[in-house]
């Protein structure tokens, strides 16, 4: 009798995740960004594919709502590119979670992605995935402490306080 490791094949858990994403609209609407339940479902499907392609499994609602909350105030994201950007960020996130060998937390990776996207990449996903994230992965594999990386922990942030997207945004 098999024990499936893909909990999101369960309809109930998928619905929970979609609800959590749609709930983010309450927060993102002030930045002019909104997702329909259908779009939320598409993001959940993108996540399932990204997880499978990168040989990972996830439990709970995962990182989708965290990515939405972290990126929604970016000056480079509008309703026109919102969905497309989210799909790419989700794929990027799981790929670089492996590349960084799980040496940084979800919050740290998302914070780095967001700050790089808004600053050094000037809204370019190509620069983010082709330059900044590979460099981060290389540095972490070389043993550099994530606390010394300014795009994760800006100088004015106490490194003992882990990046927390919700706290920063609320």
């Amino acid at each position: 009798m098999a024990f499936d490791l893909t909990p999101f094949s369960s309809g109930m858990l998928q619905r929970q995740t979609v609800d959590a994403i749609v709930k983010c609209n309450d927060f993102t609407i002030r930045h002019g960004l909104i997702l329909t339940p259908q779009q939320a479902l598409e993001l959940v499907e993108t996540r399932a594919v990204a997880l499978s392609e990168n040989g990972r499994v996830e439990f709970g609602t995962g990182i989708l709502d965290k990515i939405i909350r972290e990126f929604c105030d970016s000056p480079y994201i509008t309703m026109q590119n919102y969905m497309e950007t989210l799909h790419e960020l989700i794929e990027m996130f799981y790929y670089f979670k492996n590349e960084t060998q799980d040496s940084i937390s979800d919050d740290e990776l998302i914070a780095f992605m967001s700050r790089s996207f808004d600053n050094v990449c000037h809204g370019s996903l190509e620069l983010l995935s082709g330059r900044e994230l590979p460099e981060l992965a290389g540095n972490l594999r070389a043993g550099i402490d994530p606390r010394s990386i300014e795009l994760i922990y800006p100088k004015d942030v106490d490194p003992d306080i882990a990046p927390n997207t919700e706290d920063e945004n609320e």
Partner: protein, 456 residues
């Protein structure tokens, strides 16, 4: 009135030892003890438990993990639950427990079982170490001393309860198959404990002589010593001899070979069983668990004898003792070493030599003792042809002495340098290129060699 026994729906033998929970679930579902809804609930609860464990594993910092990590933690959880379910006398009762208990409850009970098994295994290990047999082989020491300590140090019941970490190189007579993790280690140590307890009925010297009859170099071999001891003890009883001294004389062994060859398989099994009963009486064995262990060894011994009869190799099963201490010793002196400064200068000259022929001539001319030869062969890497030329006029006892020291009896905590390892490889290759007759001569001498060191 005869007793009425409840009809059991699930037979324990059809369940997997390694994947007990999963096989029990399947059997209980197919027999109607569990319904589809029960199975679905248990599967969902297993996923919930996995999610909780992964959250703990990542310290809540990552919501996803690699599939291999999740798979390993899931296997560990299922293993832990299986240990608890195995504690039920009958699988039907375990299946009923699945119906009424949550996965979390089953898991917690499993953790308690692991804790008890781990404590007991440590206790048995301590007892085994206290009474280590004097005839212990290298594989025994590596597994029982080093291997087990490493297991207890690295065993992780939280996330890898199913993992054994070590390979138990020293085999037990009764196989400890189909088990993993602490369950395997517990069973393995228990087996070793009973084997040692049985062997303790015989004098260490007698066992050593018997095992020397098995092979002169038995300490370096990977085999089960208890199996040789009990087989010989049973053989003594079959030959109507006293078993206590483990001495089966050649004449008695010959008569026994004739007797055993004439037996059918059932007759052989019956004869071995009778001999075992007589052996227990002679040794006054009263320890019931140990008796059960030796009982379980009997079919293995019978198979081994049957196999030996079929392959006409009974001589290898019915061993007669040998007394290595009575074998004449060949004492080989490694001689005096060169004075240190002189040696360094010489080694540098040899290493710097431009032509191979000069190097060979220099080595032949200047090297006077085996000690210097050994040093220079380690310090200066020679080509196979140079090694062959330098060693060609050495006598078999000299080569045997070097072989004994470097290939057969390296020290227990041998921490050979790279240069030593390289020399050993080259030397072994050189020996293999020698004519068979010369190789045989060297091999015959090796066990009789006694190396004498002289101070420089």
């Amino acid at each position: 009135m005869s007793s009425i026994e409840k009809i059991r729906l699930i037979d324990r033998s059809e369940l997997s030892g390694e994947n007990y929970f999963q096989s029990l679930l399947e059997a209980a579902y197919s027999r109607g003890i569990l319904q589809a809804a029960d199975v679905e609930r248990l599967q969902l609860e297993c996923i919930e438990l996995l999610a909780q464990k992964i959250k703990k594993y990542t310290g809540g910092e990552s919501s996803s993990v690699r599939v291999e990590v999740a798979q390993s933690i899931m296997t560990s959880n299922l293993y832990t639950i299986s240990l608890f379910l195995k504690s039920y006398l009958y699988p039907d009762e375990a299946a009923e427990a699945l119906k009424v208990s949550s996965v979390k409850e089953l898991y917690e009970q499993g953790c308690a079982v692991i804790e008890i098994k781990l404590k007991t295994a440590k206790r048995i290990h301590a007892l085994i170490l206290q009474n280590s047999p004097k005839f212990a082989t290298r594989a025994y020491k590596t597994t029982i001393v080093g291997g087990m300590k490493s297991f207890f140090k690295s065993y992780n019941p939280e996330y890898a309860a199913h993992s054994t970490h070590i390979s138990a190189d020293y085999p037990t007579c009764n196989p400890v198959g189909n088990l993993t993790g602490v369950e395997f280690i517990h069973k393995y140590l228990e087996s070793i404990y009973y084997e040692n307890m049985f062997c303790a009925n015989f004098a260490s010297a007698d066992t050593h002589h018997l095992l020397s009859g098995y092979d002169n170099n038995y300490r370096e071999l990977i085999f089960n010593a208890y199996e040789q001891v009990i087989t010989t003890a049973i053989a003594c009883k079959l030959a109507r001899l006293n078993a206590k001294s483990l001495n089966l004389p050649e004449t008695a062994a010959e008569d026994l070979r004739v007797f055993l060859t004439a037996q059918t398989k059932p007759e052989l099994a019956a004869a071995i069983k009778n001999a075992h009963d007589e052996l227990k009486a002679e040794l006054k064995i009263t320890n019931i668990p140990m008796e059960r262990y030796t009982d379980r060894s009997l079919p293995i011994i019978a198979d081994s004898i049957s196999g030996a009869i079929a392959s006409k190799t009974l001589r290898q099963v019915l061993i007669t003792p040998k007394y290595p201490e009575l074998t004449p010793k060949l004492r080989v002196s490694f001689g005096r070493k060169m004075e240190y400064k002189q040696y360094r200068k010489f080694a540098e000259e040899v290493a710097d030599c431009r032509y191979s022929s000069d190097r060979i001539a220099m080595l032949r001319r200047e090297i006077q003792t085996l000690a210097d030869l050994e040093n220079i062969l380690i310090d200066v890497e020679l080509s196979p042809d140079e090694l062959k030329a330098v060693l060609s006029d050495r006598e078999p006892p000299e080569l045997a002495a070097i072989a004994k020291r470097h290939l057969y009896e390296p020290s227990e905590e041998d921490e050979a340098s790279d240069a030593e390892r390289s020399f050993r490889r080259s030397f072994r290759q050189y020996l293999e290129t020698l004519p068979q007759e010369r190789q045989n001569a060297i091999n015959r001498i090796i066990p009789t060699i006694e190396v004498i060191e002289e101070r420089s």
